[in-house]
């Protein structure tokens, strides 16, 4: 008879082990199903690795391009090919020179490109000189050995030379040379600002000196103006967008809490006036939470138009539901002695709530509000992307242009910092509240 529990134990352990393996098999089977349901094999062919490369390079480097309009015969130097990043004709970088009979461009490792009247010549050490003639009949390419290496792609209408030192493209309309540099371009000052051409020490010196570079303005304020209204990075607009996002989160959370608190009193078992009202209010809370934030956002955007207030109202509606539930649970755990004491002194319902209940629940409620504010800061970025407000809007716009990846990186870093800052602040206040 003593062997029976033994056998029983073995059987149970075997069953547990089997359950474990079944669970594992289930997870693997599901992932395999997902693999095919999401068409991962097909995805492998659709992956745009070239896009990934562009994205990655843009996040940490930029290019300066020298462009010649072949029809009008004008040459310009600009950052990332943007109009805001054009260098004035007299302040080209020193590796681009207007020499006799054309423009000379020095890339790294001794590679040079010359824009001449009739041809573009690229000299590559250890390889020789490549000549490209953009004639009307078609683009002619001459390499030293007559062969075309794999880093040159050539057709009648376009020749592109891609090398680690830089990139040269020639079409009938234009000739472009790219040279790559580390870092984000023109983050502080754009090329039309005199401060762009100064080193850090020169900047510090001119900030302290009284020789005015821009008339009617002290150097420091001129610097600040050029930085703050930088047309490429638009620091003022970005700062405003961050503020707008925080404002959406703050307004939405606080309005939600203010609406939910009185309603929570009505729906708490120990304060609610009657069963039907309690039940009705609880269903309202469930409805607010249950309808997805996305649906609220769409409905509100139809009524109020896109903007930060629509976002704040959407946050408010979902939060009213969550807060209502949380607050009424907190209220149900309060001690009724204080309330009874106040009642014995003749306090009315409002006074009983203010002096008997609020002091008991305030720390918990405040910490819940802060917690929600924290998560709403994240949520406001997403809602901003849908309703068109705040940093969320800037981010989606920058992503959709599909070329300003340095901006995207910048905004993402700002969002991360913003969220971490809010986490830090709210965590600090919550710890203070709990300690008292």
């Amino acid at each position: 008879m003593t062997t029976v529990p033994y056998v029983e134990a073995h059987r149970r352990i075997a069953r547990k082990r089997l359950t474990g393996f079944a669970l594992l098999a289930g997870v693997i089977a599901y992932l395999v199903y997902i693999f095919f349901a999401f068409d991962m094999p097909g995805l492998a062919q659709r992956v745009r690795l070239d896009n990934a490369a562009i994205l990655l390079r843009d996040t940490y480097s930029h290019r300066i391009q020298v462009t010649r309009d072949n029809r009008r015969d004008t040459t310009s130097v600009s950052v990332d090919g943007e109009r805001n990043g054009q260098y004035p004709a007299d302040r080209w970088p020193d590796w681009v020179q207007n020499a006799e009979g054309g423009t000379a461009i020095n890339l790294t490792h001794g590679v040079t490109v010359r824009y001449e009247d009739d041809a573009v010549r690229m000299a590559v050490p250890d390889y020789g000189q490549i000549t490209i003639i953009p004639a009307q009949s078609g683009i002619e390419l001459f390499t030293p050995d007559g062969q075309i290496p794999e880093w040159i792609s050539a057709s009648d209408t376009r020749v592109a030379i891609t090398r680690p030192e830089g990139r040269l493209t020639v079409t009938k309309a234009r000739t472009e040379t790219f040279r790559y540099f580390l870092g984000w371009p023109l983050f502080f000052f754009t090329t039309d600002s005199p401060f762009h051409y100064m080193t850090w020490t020169e900047l510090a010196r001119s900030a302290l000196s009284s020789d005015r570079i821009v008339a009617d303005q002290s150097n420091l304020s001129a610097m600040w103006h050029d930085f703050w209204y930088n047309p490429m990075w638009r620091h003022n607009a970005v700062a405003w967008a961050i503020f707008e996002t925080l404002m959406m989160a703050f307004l939405g959370t606080m309005m939600g809490a203010m609406i939910a608190l009185p309603l929570a009193f009505l729906s708490a078992r120990n304060f609610g006036p009657s069963m039907p009202i309690r039940f009705a209010i609880r269903r309202v809370f469930d409805f607010c939470r249950g309808v997805d934030g996305l649906i609220w956002t769409i409905i509100l955007a139809r009524a109020f138009g896109p903007g930060p207030m629509t976002g704040a109202l959407a946050i408010m509606l979902t939060d009213t539901g969550s807060f209502g539930k949380l607050f009424s649970e907190v209220l149900e755990t309060t001690d009724s002695k204080q309330v009874e004491g106040l009642r014995s002194t003749g306090a009315n319902a409002l006074q009983r709530g203010r002096f008997g209940v609020i002091p008991q629940v305030m720390p918990v409620i405040a910490s819940q509000i802060l917690y929600m504010l924290e998560s709403n800061t994240r949520g406001a970025t997403v809602i901003g992307a849908i309703v068109g407000g705040g940093i969320g809007l800037l981010l989606t716009q920058a992503i959709q242009t599909q070329k300003d990846w340095e901006d995207v990186t910048y905004y993402i870093i700002l969002v991360i910092l913003m969220v971490m800052m809010m986490d830090g602040i709210s965590g600090w206040i919550r710890r203070r509240l709990i300690k008292g």
């Binding site: 999401f38 707008e244 307004l251 934030g293 139809r302 009524a303 903007g307 207030m309 849908i386 969002v415």
Partner: protein
């Protein structure tokens, strides 16, 4: 007599000071709310007061058209079911992947359990960052690289889930009893064996409960990501309510599907979470 008078004076002074502080805080708060609301109202395309009467226009129009074409609804619900399944699959796969990665990382960042104590702090920062990046951003960037479809959304949500669950799981791990781990160590078990047999059985109920809660959140996130460009029911919704060509019966069908799905998932997961945390009632 003077003693009690002094005590009363200092008490009243304290009360007065507290009241002044409360009043100042209240005034600052009200001013912040009022000016913030005013500012938000100014920046909005439509004003608050102008919008209030229009608040029910869209729902009314939507419901009106849905009622007028009520016969279509079952068909439409059936039509959008595959999109809903895709949205749910995105959420489920992302939760699963995120929970597996988060569970692994949470063990790596729990002091006392971590195999490489030096990595605890840097890995915690990594988790912080994956949590802080909004999933929309990751999804949009991935759409650029992978072209639109469910995979970018899945990766984006999984990344966020890893960060969120990693942190929550680590908090659970900290409360785990280390005795089983020590016992396993004394018989020569490796790190994986110690974690799998010593820690995971202790924390599994709480982990599962958090993962279920995360699944609820992820279903919503996956619907939103569809709206922004990844596939699923969100994408269908965006087409259905598009300005001008609004097909509100379709939109109503999608709203119904979303609402019911979220309600059902919340109920089921709430029930299971209750069982997991409180034990079988």
């Amino acid at each position: 007599m003077t003693d009690t008078a002094q005590i009363q004076d200092s008490y009243m002074a304290q009360v007065r000071r507290k009241r002044t502080y409360s009043t100042i805080l209240l005034v600052v708060f009200v001013a912040m709310m009022a000016s913030g609301f005013h500012l938000a109202n100014d920046r909005n395309a439509g004003g608050f007061l102008a919008g209030i009467p229009r608040l029910f226009d869209f729902p009314a129009e939507l419901l009106g058209e849905a009622f007028a074409k009520a016969a279509n609804l079952p068909g439409l619900v059936w039509h959008y079911l595959p999109a809903l399944v895709e949205t749910l699959n995105i959420a489920a796969a992302a939760t699963l992947i995120g929970a597996i990665l988060g569970g692994f990382l949470s063990l790596m960042v729990t002091p006392g359990l971590a195999p490489f104590p030096r990595l605890v702090s840097p890995l915690r920062r990594v988790l912080d960052i994956t949590r802080a990046v909004p999933d929309v951003v990751v999804a949009l960037i991935l759409i650029f690289m992978l072209s639109s479809g469910p995979v970018p959304a899945m990766i984006a949500i999984a990344l966020h889930t890893t960060g969120a669950l990693g942190k929550l799981f680590a908090e659970v791990n900290e409360n785990a009893d280390t005795k089983p781990v020590e016992g396993l160590q004394s018989v020569g078990a490796g790190w994986f064996q110690r974690m799998l047999l010593g820690v995971v059985p202790q924390v599994a109920p709480n982990w599962l409960s958090y993962a279920l809660l995360r699944f609820e959140i992820n279903v919503r996130a996956s619907a939103i990501l569809g709206f922004v460009g990844a596939g699923g029911i969100g994408a269908e919704l965006k087409i259905a309510i598009g300005w001008g060509l609004g097909r509100y019966d379709a939109a109503a069908a999608i709203f119904i599907l979303l609402f019911l799905t979220i309600m059902i998932i919340d109920q089921i997961s709430g029930h299971f979470r209750h069982v997991l945390v409180k034990g079988r009632a």
